[in-house]
Structures are given as C-alpha cells and as structure tokens.
Amino acid sequence: MNFLKRTVPLFIAFVMGVLMAMQYFVPHKLSQDLLEVVSRWDRIIAGFAVFIGAYSLFHLHWTRIKRKVEGWGYSVFVYFGAIITLIFGFLNGGKFFWNDKQDGTMFDWLYYYVQVPAGATIFSILAFFIASAAYRTFRARTKESTVLLIAAILVMLGRVPIGNYISQYIPAVADWIMAVPNLAAKRGILLGVSLGAIATSLKIIIGIERSYLGGGD
C-alpha cells in the first residue's frame, strides 16, 4: 500500500517534472504535441478543483446549520443564494443545461444585481479602513518609516491631477520614485522569489519536497 500511496505519486511527479522541463528544449513536433496534450489534460484536471472548493464551502455551512452554532441562520442564506442560482442556471431560460448558455436569463440577472454589487462593495469598504488607519496608526516613528511616508505622500500627490497644481515637480518626482527605487526593489524581490520558486520546483521533482501529498509522509 505504501507503494501506491507514496512511491507511485513521487514517481509520477519525477517523470512529469523531468519530461516537461526537457520538453522545452526539444523542437520536434512530437514534443510540441506532447505539450499540447499535457496542458489540455492539466486544464481539465484544474476544472475539477472548483468542486473541491464548492464541497468545502457547502460542508462548512451545513455543519454550522446542523450544530446550530451562533449565527447559523446566516448560513441558510448561503444555501438559499446558491440553490436559487443553480436552479436558474440549470433552467437556462427554459432551454435547460444540456443546451448552450442563453443570454438575459434570471441567472444573469442574479449575477448583475447580486454578485456584482456585493463583490464590488465588500472590497470598497477597505477605502474607509485605509483612511482611518492613515489617521490613527501611520506614524513616522523611525527614519525608515518617515522615508516610507514621504514616498507615499509624493506618489499619492503625483498620481492625481491635483499634484500638478501644487508643483510641476511633484508628478516628475513621483514618476522617478516608481521608475527607479521602486523598480529596483521590486526587481530584487522578483529575482529572489523566482530563484526560490526554481529551488522549490527542483525539490519537488527530486522528491525532497512532499507537502503537496497532503501529509503522512
């Protein structure tokens, strides 16, 4: 059983890793066909991952309802929203789900008038919290934090038209901050992260890194 649970997956990871790394350097048509087939399979497998997320969410809220934890009534709304959307989605404007997706159905109505406003609003709340944090917690306690705040202020002024009214140099300084020190730091971080990603990929292929197996090894 250990062979099936541990050895086979590690072998699969090794073979796929080496194969796809070598494929990049082989221009033969067979190699290109392999890339197309494998990427198509990977795409299809990735699509099934949606159902893992869906099951987890349904299970979480079902448990809350079953155990009647505090606020379990709100979990009913999750099921209500999901079920009503699924019903209208599968009804597909009367054509049902085995036909092509129809336009302008109740399913689309729920998207435009529930999901879009709610999704957009939830993240816009952060604007208020940033303003509150700017007043209550952003303090120039050290030299480094002072530099951070000055850079932030110059960029904020330089990126809106009003900065030009205050001084013609503010947009130029803001552009310089973005194009020189910001670029340098972000490039340094990008190089570091990329080197780390390559090291991790090599460890996965060789079999040192096994956390993707889900524990127990």
Binding site: G53, L86, T121, V147, L148, L183
Partner: protein, 249 residues
Amino acid sequence: MRKDSNFFVLVGTIGLFVCINIFLMASGKLPFNSDGFGIILGVGITLAIYSFLYKDNPAFKIAENLYVGVALGYTIIITWFNFLKPDLYDPLIVPMFSKAAEKAPQYALIFPSLLGIFMLLRFSRKLSWLSRWTFAFVVGLGAGVSIPRVISAFILEQIKPSLHPVFSGGETILSSINTLLILLGVISVLIYFIFSVEHKGAIGRLSKVGIWFLMISFGASFGYTVMGRLSLLIGRIQFLLRDWLGILQ
C-alpha cells in the same frame, strides 16, 4: 434597551429605503421592470454591506452570506457551460450515448477525467490516497514547465536591463545615473534577503541600502494601494448616485 434601539434603527432605515424606492419608481427615475428592481436589489445589498461601517448588523451578514452563495452558484454554472460541457460532455459523453452524434467520442479524455475524479476522492477516507496521484501529476507538471520559463522570463530577461551599459545609445547623464541606481538597488535588495550570511561589514552596509530602497518601494505601494481602494469606493458611490438616485449624468 440597546438591542431594542438597534432593532428600531434597522427597521427605520429599511423603511426609509423602501419609501425612497417607491418615490423613485413613481417619479419614473427608476424603470418599472426587471432592471429597475435589479437596481433596487443591488443598492439594497450595497447599503447593507456599507452598514457594517456603522455597526455589525444582521443586514450586513445576510448580504454577505447571500453573496457567497450566489457567487458559488455562478462559479458552478459557468464551470458547467464553459468547461465541463464543451470539453467533456460534448466531445466524450454525448457521442457515446447519442446515435445522432457527428463525431466519434474522444476516448483520450477519459484519462484526465479520471485524474480529476481522483482529486475529488480526497474527501473519502478509504480512497483519498488516489488524490495524491493527481496532485503529483499536476505539481510535477507545474514544476517542470516552470523551471526553464521562469529562468528565461523572470531571471535572464530581468537581469538584462539591469546590466545595460551606461552612456551608450545616446543616453543622458540622468538616465545613466538612474541605470546605476537601479543596479545598486537590485543588488542591495538581494543582499538584504540573504539571511544565511551575517549582515556585518560591507554586507551589512549594502543590506542597509537595500532597506532604504525597500522602504521607498513600500511607500510607493502604499500610495497606490490607497488609490486602488479609493477607486473601488468611488465606483460604488457613482453607482448609487447615477444608476439609483439619478443625480449624476
């Protein structure tokens, strides 16, 4: 008493909202059709979520959970129409069971479908080990495909402009100074992140320079973050003022 007053505030606010909408529909500013009712629903959800800024309340929680449910339902339906149906159902299942099908079933799709089903078996106690095969396939593939491409796109292509020669190709003095500054910044930031070497002496001084570059960069990121979050708020207020109240054109 506190709970009673909260209840009356909530009921009063909902009542005011209903009255405003009746007025808007009666005056013709909101159309009396599915779009009009949709806008009312959208505004109601928007205001319910914003009510959190005053105090956490049932209206916010209902809107939040409703959103989670609708988003989940939308994801599943879009996955069916855009992925499962054209990529699996139409080319594999339909030709297998329908005599009127024009093309032969693409049996090769059984293999990735099986791997996909194995992945879902991670919730089963007895068969969860099968999901390891799928994760190994996906992770191994991802690792192999990434290595040469990341080296090319993120490392070599990023190092090239940093090593650009100065005072060549008609550059000004300022742009050459900028090129040197960028090189200094990249090296010092990379050195800052090497924690396996003690930051003393020359390494320590370079690492300090890296910190300054990082602080300026984080300041710029903070400025942009403020801008970004504010834009989302501006968009929502535009929706409320234009599409609902009809104040903006």
